[in-house]
Each structure stands twice: as C-alpha cells, then as structure tokens.
C-alpha cells in the first residue's frame, strides 16, 4: 500500500491546484444538509460530514441525461450524446465508493452502457474516511466501513495531518503534481489502522444484531411476513428511498420534442420501483400494482435478487433511505431485525 502524509495546511493548496485544472465536485454544507456540489474555493469543501443527503451517483447517472438528439425532418437522423466532463469528486465515503463499484458492475455488464462508462472514466474519485456516523448508518455490517480499491486517492484525517492512500496511477499523478506529501511513518500507518478500527466498531452500534450474511436466508423465509403489508400500508409511494439510494439505478426513457416539432431529444431519467406505475405496461396492466409488492420488491432487490449479478448485496448501509422516508418505514436495519425476530420466534 502506498500511503503518503499531507499536512493539514497543504489540503487547501491541493484543492486550489485542482480547481485551476478541473471541475471539482465536493461535499458542501447547505442549510444544515451535506450535499455534493461544484466548489470554487477550498473553503467550501467539507471533510468531516456524517452522510450526504444524496449519493454521488448523479455524476455518472444524472437525474436526467440526454441519450441522443434526433431530427424527424427533412431526414430522420440521430446523433448520440456522450457527456464526459473531466471532474474530480472530492470526499467520497467508503460505502459510497463501494456503491460506485456496484454501479460499475451493472453498467459494464454486457451490453455495456457507454453513457455511464464515459462519465465514469473521466472522473477522479477522492475518498475520505468518515469521522462521524449518521444515526441511520450501518455500513460496517454491509462490509463497507473501509475500501481497499475503487478510488484514486483516499484521505484519512489523522488530526494533525491527512494520510493519503494512492489507489491508482492517475491518483499518483494528481498527488505528485498538485500537492506536497511525504511517506507515512510506521506510527502514522498504525494510527490510521486504529482510527479505522474504532470507526468500524462505532458503525456497528446502530447496526444489525446478527451477521449480514444471514439476510438472504431471512428474505427467502419471509416472503409472506406481515411486515411487508404493515409497513407498505404507510408507504406514500414517493420513491424517496430509491432516489437517495447510492445503488438504485433504475431509469425511464422518454422523448421530448422541440417546439419546431422537427427535432428533439431522447433522455433517461431516474425512476423508482416504489412509484405506482413502475411496472405498468401500455395495456394498463400493472404487474406490481400493490404497495406491498413494490415495497417488498425493493428489500428483496437489495438483499437477495442481485446477489448473483453483483456477488454482493445491493445495499452498502448508508442509511439514506431511512433518513429520507417520510413514513419512517424504509430503515433496512429495523426491517431486517424484525425479520430476524420473526424467524427466531418461528422456532427455526
């Protein structure tokens, strides 16, 4: 592992240098919420956030993205649109890096999606280890407390300096070109390990009371659990849990005609499986019409359905769904704990 040390004062200069060459996206505090946004000065960059309201997935899968422009007159013509602005995304927690690695798998799986992949390729990912934990986070349970790959640089706040792990050749180039660092000493390395271990333990406090590898078995067993209907009865079908989720990637594709009725765009936009019409077809048939079916589908998709494709859960334990849900039914920890309790009481 290539670990460097950056003085605290040096961070500003590093960001300043990046700003001179790239669009820099980072975490900012806005009306009490942590959000990813474009920054134009190092002072805006927040390094000690607990959890952002939205994940950084918007940089690779924007809420609305043009797939192609078309014209219908005089000739039918189509020109695909690939936007891949070079960008540095500064301050991504390990669970969100893991979520990006999951999206990478989905969008590079055959047939690959060049719209996503081009944005992704043009992005530098700079991670940061959390210093604080959101009350709904349980990322340690989901194996996402720290990551060893999937970043260009990874920052850890060691109080009087930053440890910076170099995760790629382009990360190496960034740090050697735009910042002054020195190699980490043995003490600094072990301090980083201790900090990470403490963080891991803290994230377990709000987490599951059983190992996460039991989740698929619990779900297999719980298709008829009353919890789906009980919770779904409170569901507003707003899709907030989908939109704030770093691993939800479902989208709809729609056309928009220009006012001249000769040209237009076909675009995709975020869609969510909790929304009422998600599985509705042209004839009016809705294959997941009941809220219960839609609510249950999301939990199964996170904990069971995607295991084969991802070789992992489609949940990284960020807890954003729990924070965003107005009806307070989306918290995976509460749902999975309840399923575990039913399972125990069922005498299995």
């Amino acid at each position: 592992m290539n670990l460097r040390i950056m003085d605290k004062g040096e961070l500003k200069k590093f960001v300043q240098n990046l700003l001179a060459h790239y669009r820099v996206e980072g975490v900012v505090k806005n009306n009490g919420a942590y959000l990813y946004d474009t920054i134009d000065s190092p002072e805006q960059l927040c390094m000690d956030f607990d959890c952002t309201r939205y994940p950084p997935k918007k940089y690779f899968l924007p809420p609305r993205e043009t797939l192609f422009h078309f014209s219908t007159s005089p000739e039918l013509e189509v020109s695909p649109v690939f936007e891949s602005p070079p960008q540095v995304i500064f301050g991504i927690h390990p669970y969100d890096l893991k979520a990006i690695a999951i999206l990478d798998k989905v969008f590079s799986k055959d047939p690959p999606d060049p719209h996503y992949l081009k944005r992704r390729e043009a992005s530098f990912l700079i991670g940061v280890d959390p210093k604080r934990i959101s009350p709904h986070s349980f990322w340690a349970d989901m194996g996402a407390a720290s990551v060893n790959e999937g970043f260009d640089l990874m920052f850890t706040d060691l109080e009087d300096s930053y440890a910076v792990e170099i995760g790629s050749a382009s990360g190496e180039t960034l740090i050697s070109t735009y910042a002054r660092t020195q190699p980490a000493t043995g003490d600094e390395k072990s301090k980083r390990v201790t900090l990470r271990t403490n963080l891991y333990s803290k994230s377990l406090i709000n987490g599951l009371d059983f190992p996460s590898y039991e989740i698929p078995k619990l779900l297999e067993h719980s298709k008829e659990s009353p919890i789906w209907r009980e919770n779904a009865n409170k569901c507003l079908s707003c899709g907030a849990c989908n939109f704030v989720c770093p691993t939800c990637y479902c989208f709809d594709v729609q056309d928009e005609m220009d006012l001249d009725l000769k040209q237009g765009t076909r675009y995709r936009k975020w869609d969510g499986c909790l929304l009422k019409d998600f599985a509705k077809v042209g004839s009016g048939e809705n294959f997941r019409e009941s809220r219960t079916a839609r609510y249950r589908h999301r939990f199964y998709r996170k904990g069971l359905y995607q295991l084969d494709t991802l070789q992992d859960f489609a949940c990284v334990g960020c807890g954003r769904c729990a924070s965003a849900c107005l009806a307070d039914i989306a918290d995976p920890v509460r749902v999975f704990k309840k399923l575990k309790q039913e399972y125990r009481e069922g005498g299995k």
Partner: protein
C-alpha cells in the same frame, strides 16, 4: 474501467421502412418492415424488438413473423399506449426505429421431432405466430401440431385468412373459441380451456407453448399438466414493461429475473418459484 468504451450508443435504433400495412381488427394493424441497411432482422421465433417513434418514445413489440430468407419482418400492433397508437397513423414508405431483436426464443431445436400444442389467447397469437409459421415452414421436422386460439369476441380474432387456412389444413389440428359470441358466431363458445377436452396428446412426446393475457396462464397450465405434459416442456412468453431491452432499467424485473434478457420466453419449470411471474 480499462476496456475501450464504445462510441456507439445501444439506445440508438436502426431505421426500418414500412412496406405493407394490413388492418387486422379495429385495434390492431400488421406492419411489414425492412431494415434500411438491407439486412434481415436476424431474430428467432419469440423474440421482441423496441419500436421507436421519434418524439413519442419506444415500446417493446413481439416479432410476429418467422425468420426467413427475405429481409422483411412483421409486427402486429395493438393500439394501447403512446407509441402503439402513434404508429397506427403511419403509412407505407414511412420509417420507424428498431432496436433488437432482444430476449430468449421458443425452443425451435428442442421441439424438433416432437408434437407441439400451441395455446394462444387474444393478442398472444402475435408472438406465438412467429413459432407457428416457423413450424409450418418446416412441417416435416415436427410431429403432430395442435393450435388452440381463444378470443374474447369474434371481432378480436386476428389473421382471419390464416386462421381459416389452419382450420382447413389436414396436417395440423386447429381449434378456436370465443368467450362472448355475436349472433353470427357458429363456433365454440367459452374460455380457451374449454377446448382441452376436444383432443388427446401423447404427453411423453409433446411440448406446450402458451402465450396470452396474464390471467390465462394459470388455467391453461393446469390443463396442460392434466394432459400429463411436464412443467419442463411447457413454455410461456411473458409480457412486462421492457423499457431498455438491455437488462438495466429495471422495469421488466420479476424477482431476480430481467424479462428482457432472461425472457420473454421461459421454460415453465424454471419460473415456478418466481412469485410474481404468473
């Protein structure tokens, strides 16, 4: 992220020109199309395409014709949504977008040398027809062929000339029924399952292909099982909202299955555990 990323988008359709239009019923038209690049569509029976009308959108449509040497293919389209309504106004010579073909196909090879029982309800005849035509084009490769067709009323019967030809052929058995007859109807009355007592099959040698509205599957499968046809020789084609066709957008998912890639044709024994399938 190391592999070269394609410069072409899988969402961009090819153009196809409409060469013939036939009004099938009040709500369905048959479109014969050919790709502008001159190549055949290259589909297998049971696959679907994404039909694209610029400014309106895309809709998944089953290919209704069998693969052939000719470069044309057929889509039978019921007017139900935005795209399927807009295409009804198109004229011969106009162009539409086509992506695909996508998805799994009927077991053309596996059924060779065996009997096939086709059960098509309403517009389910459209995807089934691609396989029926294939079998009739290769009639000697297959043994006994029985086709059951059910429609809600006589006005919803599609491909009238073909139905008549099938009824008159002596190398296949064709049976049909309507749920609600009109005064001129002289044929069978009742749901499609009422046709099952009218024929015998040798279950050891028979495949069953079922395509119809969602409500039909459970009842037809019960009848097929009652005839002794095992679940692994029953094939169904399922309708879902296949929006992207690429296994990404999530709309067609049934549990862990993407219908656009793992389907639309499924072996029934593979989906008996899929809670939301039928």
């Amino acid at each position: 992220m190391t592999n070269a990323i394609a410069e072409t988008s899988p969402y961009v359709p090819q153009w196809a020109e409409i060469s013939r239009i036939e009004q099938l019923t009040n709500t369905e038209k048959l479109f014969e199309l050919s790709l502008l690049n001159g190549r055949p569509l290259g589909h297998r029976p049971g696959q679907f395409i994404e039909l694209s009308i610029m400014g309106i959108g895309e809709a998944p449509i089953s290919v209704s014709s069998a693969p052939s040497e000719r470069n044309t293919f057929e889509l039978a389209i019921r007017k139900v949504g935005n795209v399927t309504s807009a295409v009804q106004n198109f004229k011969t010579g106009q162009r539409v977008g086509i992506r695909g073909p996508y998805g799994t196909s009927f077991p053309v090879e596996e059924c060779r040398g065996k009997n096939i029982l086709f059960v098509a309800g309403g517009i389910g005849l459209v995807p089934a027809r691609s396989f029926i035509h294939y079998v009739l084009n290769h009639r000697n490769d297959y043994k006994d062929i029985i086709i059951l067709f059910g429609a809600r009323n006589p006005g919803e019967r599609l491909f009238l000339k073909e139905l008549e030809q099938w009824a008159n052929r002596d190398d296949i058995r064709y049976l049909e029924s309507v749920d609600r007859p009109d005064p001129n109807w002289t044929g069978n009355v009742g749901v499609i399952t009422t046709l099952f007592p009218k024929f015998q099959v040798n279950p050891a040698e028979t495949y069953c292909v079922v395509v119809g509205p969602p409500v039909m599957y459970r009842f037809v499968i019960l009848e097929a099982r009652a005839k002794g046809i095992p679940d692994n020789r029953i094939f169904v084609s399922l309708e879902r909202r296949m929006k992207c066709g690429l296994g990404k957008c999530g709309h067609c998912q049934i549990n862990d299955v993407y219908v656009c890639q793992d389907g639309p044709v499924f072996r029934y024994s593979d989906i008996t555990d899929l809670k939301e399938a039928l």
